[in-house]
Amino acid sequence: MDLLAFAKGPALQVAAYIFVAGSIWRIVGIVLLKEKVDHSEPRKSGGLMAALKVIYTRSFTASPFKRATLYPKMLAYVQHLGLFAVIFLFVPHIMFFEGFLGFSWPGLPNNIIYLLGVAAVAASIALLVRRLTSPVLKLISNFDDYFSWFVTVLPLVTGLMIPVRMGFRYEDILAVHILSVVLLMLWFPFGKLGHAFLVFVTRGTTGMVFERRGAKT
């Protein structure tokens, strides 16, 4: 079995199992802890609508914080939107998803994807530089932050190397790319990358708690 067949076959298979099991493990492990019951008389109805509201509104910065957080926020937007486009709007990736989802959606031209990919890498590097230089971030960062950065950027870089090639053979660099995604999937549920699904829980919780108080969310 060559590297590509290994990457596309057993490696991806095992990564998919661990990704699914780990993610569910984490969510269930949190959700099944004791529940906090609130007996206070609500000012407004909280509930699911409040959760959805905050899941949406927290995607944007409240105006008092705009100036202070502009730089990291812009970088984070570029990084996240870039990642989203690269993962979900690159045609070969869509075909990958179609392979097990059974349906597809329109993609973007490759050149635009390459551009967004490069932008995402650049933003990630800038964010890393910030993490390595800001006193606050230096203090609060740990292994998870740096390793999660690494496993996120690695597939971006190896993916961008496929069209550029740089002396590597297509199937080798493709195999390395897929293996880098395997690494990402293996780490995803266990580290801070879990925020991709936890964000709905944390924002939703805050939405429900504070909206029923009628307080600022």
Partner: protein, 351 residues
């Protein structure tokens, strides 16, 4: 033993003009990626070299490779260069049969000890020697016997080079490639199903000209022909970059000649010269005919996924086992939460 005529003499006898001959030399130099200064050297080598003895062994094969080399709409120079070698043994093409044929093989081996070329098409069954025999001799025996005195071995076609169809899962005959058996002689793989005729003859020409084997890639293929992918040389590549894909074989995209990636084209992972050398005397290649590349010159050709399955499709089971993983996740989550809660209960009791 009568003195063999040189290649040049034969070509002259066949009525090939000097101009035509040099044109062939120039083409060969170009596809071998040699500088123009090498053209006279090629011409000289071909003109003055004695017809090299070539023994062609056919094992578990379909004769498609031979067909590819011999079936041309009109006689080509590369066809003629085949006349220029001394094809001393070839099941399909030789007139002799039975003991006579085997005698010819042995004669060629003795006369050209250490200098003849062995060309092999088809894979070799190791499961049971009886699966494929010639003159009562198993393929593996015949290969070993013939290769012993050869200068080099050329594996023609994907079966000889990588095992091909006979070697595909579940490989009932235990088929293996030439490379798997011949380890003490240079082996040049010229895979393809079938290989491009021009590529074959160019490899032979290189051997005649320089007496050496060309640079090979990790799969034993000459870099000059197998150095770049179909995808990189494909005339439909701009459509790939623009994200314009044919979705079915009869949609507007297919009619407009858009990229066939979504229809399973293996061009990106297939190293061959189809997109430049083309087929049928330079007429076209499969993608020009509207069909995705099957990747026939790659190892694992048959077992590397469906022909019409896009390359980026992951090859993993997404059904029941994944549901099993999800169930395991739930169980672990429940266990983790229970452990957390019991710890809280214990701490509450302890105060």
């Amino acid at each position: 033993m009568k003195k063999r005529p040189t290649v040049g003499e034969i070509l002259q006898a066949k009525g090939v003009s000097r101009r035509g001959f040099l044109k062939y030399c120039a083409t060969t130099a170009s596809i071998l990626a040699l500088p123009p200064s090498m053209i006279p050297r090629i011409a000289e080598a071909i003109e003055n070299t004695r017809r090299p003895s070539v023994i062609w062994l056919s094992f578990q094969e379909c004769t498609g490779c031979t067909e590819s080399l011999t079936r041309s709409a009109s006689p080509t120079v590369e066809g003629l260069i085949f006349d220029a070698i001394s094809l001393d043994y070839h099941h399909t093409l030789q007139a002799a049969a039975g003991d006579q044929a085997e005698a010819a093989r042995h004669a060629a081996m003795e006369e050209n000890e250490g200098g003849y070329l062995v060309l092999v098409d088809g894979s070799i069954p190791l499961g049971n020697p009886g699966f494929s025999t010639i003159a009562g001799m198993s393929n593996v025996e015949m290969l070993k016997e013939t290769v012993a005195g050869a200068a080099a071995v050329v594996a023609i076609g994907s079966c000889a080079a990588f095992g091909g169809i006979p070697g595909a899962d579940p490989n009932p005959t235990g088929a293996v490639s030439v490379m798997d058996l011949v380890t003490d002689k240079p082996v040049i793989n010229v895979p393809g199903c079938p290989p491009i005729p021009m590529v074959m003859t160019a490899v032979l020409t290189h051997f005649l000209t320089f007496g050496t084997i060309p640079d090979l890639d990790k799969h034993g293929r000459p870099m000059t022909f197998f150095g770049t992918t179909i995808h990189d040389r494909c005339y439909r590549r701009p459509f790939y970059e623009q994200g314009k894909f044919a979705e079915t074989f009869d949609d507007e995209g297919a009619k407009a000649g858009w990229c066939l990636y979504k229809l399973g084209c293996k061009g990106p992972t297939t190293y061959n010269a189809c997109a430049t050398t083309k087929w049928n005397s330079g007429t076209s290649f499969p993608i020009e005919a509207g069909h995705p590349c099957l990747g026939c010159s790659e190892p694992n050709f048959w077992d590397g996924g469906g022909f019409y399955e896009p390359l980026s499709t992951g090859r993993f089971d997404s059904g029941t086992k994944l549901a099993g993983a999800a169930a395991a996740g739930v169980a672990l989550g429940v266990a983790a939460a229970a452990a957390g809660r019991s710890k809280q209960a214990k701490f509450t009791k302890e105060g």
